[in-house]
């Protein structure tokens, strides 16, 4: 029920699309390390992920057998229906300065339903309109195990021509995030001249009560995240957990 509410909230949020470059020079940049072949867990600022585990099912996808897909002439398909189900199920512990801060469990589902017809105009299903691309997660903070944060995100694999966004919710606290071009600082060291440099990044922008309180770079090569100093401890944990989710998730669009 709770997840359904979040899902509905997400649809309401989907009406507020922003296109312009967002300026957030007050956010403190932090480097992200790890998340590679040699070190699967990531660390940034005071936060580290530990005990990252992924289910075996996350590495496979199931596909419906459609006999009409055999209609091919010299390799050119006359009709092709791609019905596929993929998932990414993983969990990790989030630690702050070495001590346990939250347990995070994530389930991403991708239901592909794309149809191609050679001799007729392609309908919206070819462009991913009928796809279901959802990520749900729960964040259980160590400070208060009874108050969980719920995360719901939409179109993170970008298979639809819609924006990539989500919400993080606990009681009446709602943080929204959305992929947007952002003007952000690249170095937070106050003793360096680089602290005056701002660059444009494709990032997920976190907003709480109309204010930008965090961001994480979308591109894998931009290993940076940004957080506002002095935000509420539980909100900080929720954002750090979501940053970890967004960096650790796999693209499951096949």
């Amino acid at each position: 029920m709770k997840r359904l509410l979040i899902f509905l909230l997400l649809i309401v949020f989907s009406a507020s699309s922003k296109a312009q470059v967002q300026k957030a020079a007050t956010l403190q940049p932090q480097k992200i390390s790890g998340g590679n072949l040699f070190k699967r867990n990531i660390s940034f600022s005071d936060f580290q992920t530990k005990k990252l585990g992924r289910s075996i099912g996350s590495f496979f996808s199931t596909r419906a057998i459609v006999p009409a897909n055999l209609l091919r002439i010299e390799g050119i398909p006359l009709y092709h229906k791609d019905k596929r189900r993929s998932k990414d199920h993983f969990h990790f512990d989030l630690c702050q300065n070495g001590s346990f801060a939250a347990y995070v469990e994530v389930e991403a589902i991708m239901l592909q339903n794309e149809t191609f017809r050679l001799f007729s105009k392609q309908d919206s299903s070819f462009f991913g309109k009928a796809n279901t691309d959802l990520l749900l997660a729960s964040i259980q903070p160590s400070a208060d195990t009874t108050s969980w944060w719920e995360v719901a995100a939409w179109n993170l694999n970008a298979s639809k021509d819609e924006s990539q966004r989500g919400v993080i919710k606990q009681g009446d606290k709602v943080i929204s995030f959305e992929k947007a071009p952002m003007l952000l600082r690249e170095n937070g060291d106050q003793n360096s001249i680089d602290t005056l440099f701002s660059n444009i990044y494709m990032a997920y922008q976190f907003r709480y009560r109309g204010e930008t309180i965090g961001a994480v770079a979308y591109k894998e090569s931009d290993r940076l995240c940004w957080m506002k100093k002095g935000v509420d401890k539980s909100i900080e944990t929720a954002i750090a957990s979501t940053i970890s989710i967004l960096r650790l998730r796999r693209n499951i669009y096949k």
């Binding site: 296109a19 191609f116 462009f127 991913g128 444009i200 494709m202 979308y218 090569s221």
Partner: protein, 277 residues
């Protein structure tokens, strides 16, 4: 987009090879402004120095111009990707980054400012390998982010440092170009601020240019001719990137003129070109 860009570049080079084009500055502004020709942009780039009007820069110290490229997950699934998948054609999603830093000082005899600059370009491309000699391989820019940022430090007690930012953002999903001569839709903006005052840096895309013999000519498409600098809506300077000149409002105070000269030199010394630039 790249093919159109190269075609336009060739057209521009063909036209400009016959004459030195420059921005057509309106009489309204040119009558109250001082023109300074910028020297030092062409020729030997080692120990490069710029001089214009009363301003001269120190030797420009440049860092390495680094370019990295790697395959990454797609930021959005395009129609071309869907078709390539359908026809079992190999396609990859590549992300390339280019960076450069440089620094110098600028002076007019009385005042000095240190200028530190950084350029960054990040582009995501879809590369399709058809394995067909007639169709060939092709690539398509999905998105790019270009940003130029500089810190201008006037060497004066109690003078705040200025931050200059000029950026371009292109996203194929938002592109409105449909016809051959349509330019891709790029979000672009620029500003310089010290926290109190802000100078807007507006790219000037023009069709009409003035040739060396003073005749007005027209390009088939709008091209980047320079930058217009404004404070509170009023024009205080125009940087002519084609004609290598700075037009500066005569009645500006000397410290602001130094900032305008620093912005001009920083922009003229850039090496990385954005796709639309």
């Amino acid at each position: 987009m790249k093919k159109i860009f190269y075609f336009l570049l060739a057209a521009v080079l063909l036209i400009t090879s016959c004459s030195t084009p420059k921005l057509a500055i309106p009489e309204q502004f040119s009558s109250v402004a001082q023109k300074m020709s910028i020297k030092g942009l062409n020729g030997w780039m080692i120990n490069q120095k710029l001089t214009f009007g009363t301003y001269k820069t120190s030797k420009v110290k440049r860092g390495w111009n680094t370019t990295t490229s790697r395959q990454e997950q797609s930021s959005d699934v395009t129609t071309e990707e869907r078709i390539a998948k359908l026809f079992n054609v190999k396609s990859t999603n590549t992300n390339s980054n280019q960076k450069q830093k440089y620094q110098y000082s600028i002076e007019d005899g009385n005042q000095v400012a240190e200028v530190f600059c950084s350029e960054r370009m990040s582009a995501e491309e879809l590369q399709v390998f058809t394995n067909n000699r007639w169709l060939g391989d092709f690539s398509q820019t999905k998105n790019y982010q270009y940003s130029f940022t500089a810190a201008i430090l006037p060497m004066k007690i109690n003078e705040e440092p200025w931050q200059l930012v000029v950026y371009n953002n292109y996203d194929k999903r938002k592109d409105t170009a449909r016809k051959f001569f349509d330019l891709p839709y790029v979000e672009e903006e620029g500003f310089a601020t010290n926290g109190k005052d802000t100078i807007q840096v507006k790219p000037l895309r023009v069709k009409n240019i003035t040739s060396k013999d003073g005749k007005e000519r027209q390009f088939p498409v709008k091209i980047l001719g320079g930058y217009e600098l404004r404070i509170d809506g009023g024009v205080i300077g125009v940087i002519d990137t084609m004609g290598h000149a700075l037009w500066i409002y005569k009645d500006l105070d000397e410290p602001t003129k130094l900032i305008v000269a620093s912005i001009c030199s920083a922009l003229m010394l850039r090496k990385i070109q954005d796709v639309n630039g």
